[in-house]
Structures are given as C-alpha cells and as structure tokens.
Symmetry: C2
Subunit: 243 residues, 2 copies
Amino acid sequence: MLSKNEIKYIQSLCHKKQRDETERFIAEGPKVAEELLQSTFEVVHVYATKAYIDKHEHFHFPVTEISEAELERISGLQTPNQVLVVAKQKQVQQSPVFKGQLSLVLDGIQDPGNMGTILRTADWFGINQIICTHDCVELYNPKVVQSTMGSITRVNVWYEDVAGVISNAAVPVYGALLNGQNVFEVGKIEEGILVIGNESKGIRDVIRQSITYPVTIPRIGGAESLNAAVASGIIMGAMRNAG
Amino acid sequence: MLSKNEIKYIQSLCHKKQRDETERFIAEGPKVAEELLQSTFEVVHVYATKAYIDKHEHFHFPVTEISEAELERISGLQTPNQVLVVAKQKQVQQSPVFKGQLSLVLDGIQDPGNMGTILRTADWFGINQIICTHDCVELYNPKVVQSTMGSITRVNVWYEDVAGVISNAAVPVYGALLNGQNVFEVGKIEEGILVIGNESKGIRDVIRQSITYPVTIPRIGGAESLNAAVASGIIMGAMRNAG
C-alpha cells in the first residue's frame, strides 16, 4: 500500500528538476528492473506487484508490494509492467579513455527514444563510452532509460564540452557526414571516436572541425535522411564488423 | 476558421475505426506534407497557418487557413508544426514483384515508430516493396505516417498472408535470426526477400520455415537484443552495400 506522499514523490521523478535535486531516477518493467538490480547502480526502492515479487524471492533492496491500480498511478508507461524501480543516479568517476577502443560522441541528440536506442546499440557492439554535448537529452529521462533496455547499466555516459574532449583525445575522429567515405568501405575500426549529430541539424561546426574521417551511408533510394538511431546503428555495425 | 464539426472530424481520424470507414488519414508538418502534396496520394484538404500558406502560393488542393490555436486542437503532435493534411488512403493495385529486386517482409511489427522508421530506411536503401502480416501496426496510424518522414509516398506496402506470399515468391528468403550467417559477410543482395520479426517474439514458425538464408548481426557487447528498426537498418545496409 502506497501513501499519498510516496505516490507524489515517485510521480515527481518524471520531472527533470526533481530528478536533479534528488539524484534519483525510475526504471520500469521486468527486463530493465532486472538489469538494474544486478548492476552497480544503487537501487533505492522496488515497487512491484505480487506476481513479480513471488517470482523473485531474494531481494537485497527495500520492496513494497503494490496493486495493479497503484502501479498504474505511479507508472509512466502506457502499459505498466509489474515493477517500478527507484535508483540513484551515478556519476562516472573516471575520465573516458580513448586509446585502444571505439567511443561514441553524441552532438545534440534530442529525442529520448533515439538516445536510449543508441546506448542499446552501442552496448550490442561493445562500445561502452559515450560522451554527450550538454544539450543532449538527459540520460535519466524515463524514456531514455526505458529504451536502453538495460544497457544503461553497461555503458558509461558523460556530459562534457565535447569539442575540448575530442581535440585532446589523440585518436582518429570519424563523423557521420554527407560526402564522406562509404562507411562500408572504411574497414574495421578498433580505435577512435565516432561522432553522431543532431536529428535535424547534424554535427555543429565547432565539433565538425575535429573530424578527420567523414563517413557516409550511401543512399540508393528517395528518403532524404535516416533516423539518427538507425544511422548510428548502421555505422557502428559497419565499423565493428567490416571484414 | 474551423467549425466544430470539422475539428471533430479531423480529431476522429486518430482512431483506426474512423480511418478505416472514411479511408482517410492525416499527416503533419512541412516535410511530410510537402512529400504528400507532390505525390500520387490524393490530398483531400490542407489545414495550414498563415506562415505556411504564404510560403506556398500555388495549392492544387482545398486549403483552409487556421490559427496556431486551431492547429493545436486538431494536431496529434506534441509540437504542432504549421500544417496538417488530410489525404485519401491508397490501396496498391498491382501485386508485389519479387524477381530482380530486394523486398521486405515484416512479421508482426507492433510499434508505430519502428514501422515508420523501417519504411524510411527501406526507402533510403531503394527498397520499395514491403509486405506485412495482418497483425502489423496499420500503415495509416499517424505515428507511422510521421516517422516515415515522407517515405510513405515512395514505398508500396501490402498486408497479406505472408507465409503464402513467400512460398510462391521463388526468390531467396533471408531472415533476421540468431545463429545465422554474419550479415556483413553475406555479400551484396540484388534479389530476394528479407524477413524482419516482431519486436519481442521474432519471426513466427510458419514464416521461419520458408527462410533459406538466416542472417545475424554479430553481438560483441552485453545488450540482449537490438531495437527492431535499428536491426532492420543494419541488415538492409549490409545487404545493399557489401563489397
């Protein structure tokens, strides 16, 4: 049974201001909850239906059993799904290390679904460093968290002065641009930074200047552009898997 | 100035039942509107703000100038954007032709954003035939239309008994499955069908049986799966652009 105050508190975490102040965030559904519970994130509280609790006997975290109706009230999902977790936000302590691995830079990604999906895809391809410009959508936005499908637990994300970071990185910088090299002909990339630009404006000038290897997904048909998450996925796939 | 009845009518088109009955659909924003206005779709009515109308002098379609407040009322977008078009749905007259080209089959794609994004990506890679199972999300769902970003005007979409269609197609059938060949090693595909499965359940048995070439996107990191639109994009990219 949830108190009015608890309901209010959980609901308030869908607002960035409240998330910033409390350094908390919410994650929902068995898949994402499971990943968080098994990660190094500090889980503050688990709110779950009886069905979920019965299937998961040994919780190391405070748990409150709630009804479907209560879950409906605190959930941000269209279809609430068994469990909602409140967890503590994590600041990555170390600085990114660019030598010897492929990292991602996101320049002004606005759509939470794109952001989360890019994290998920990066995780699939074994990329676990993402540096974001300060105007990218916030990592702990509930829609970002949900669309990572748990990859938020494995990928380190920084919000930084990207132009400065890149210029000190001392590795090749690839960027998704028009008129670059066909990304399917670039070959396998073991080390470097891949820059992905904003959904409509692309990569801003100050960052574009640092790109040493522009890469392009050749267009065959009529669409004017690709979705940013799809484009990132295609480029990551080509760079990781080219023969 | 819009009448109450007009407002009601336009709003009703966000419901599938009403779309089916009237054979109409709505599309919003300058980019998608522009593509529709220049396509073979029959545009029934354009509702646009003064700013939009001033920039587009010669309309061949009925136009009503509306205020921002009116647009807000009829729009399904979070941020209404200058113009809303009501158009007539189109049934593709001819049957799909499988010889000599790459076509897509979608098996139970549920998310409208995924569906629209897959259309957009297919269009980018010059794939203009998509055959959907009957339980795929409806093409004229407003979220599908919006996320095609206009590609709905260039890609033909059928809803069919997919298993039957495939078994008569007489071309190679590729499918996104686990334990298939690395899609980056399959080589360029000029002819065939690529099957993409449901977001969580994958490809159903009766369709899976017809797949002659299972293909897989190799996983390097920790994510359990890829977003369906991203996975489709990576496979289409690899099949179109492999050396």
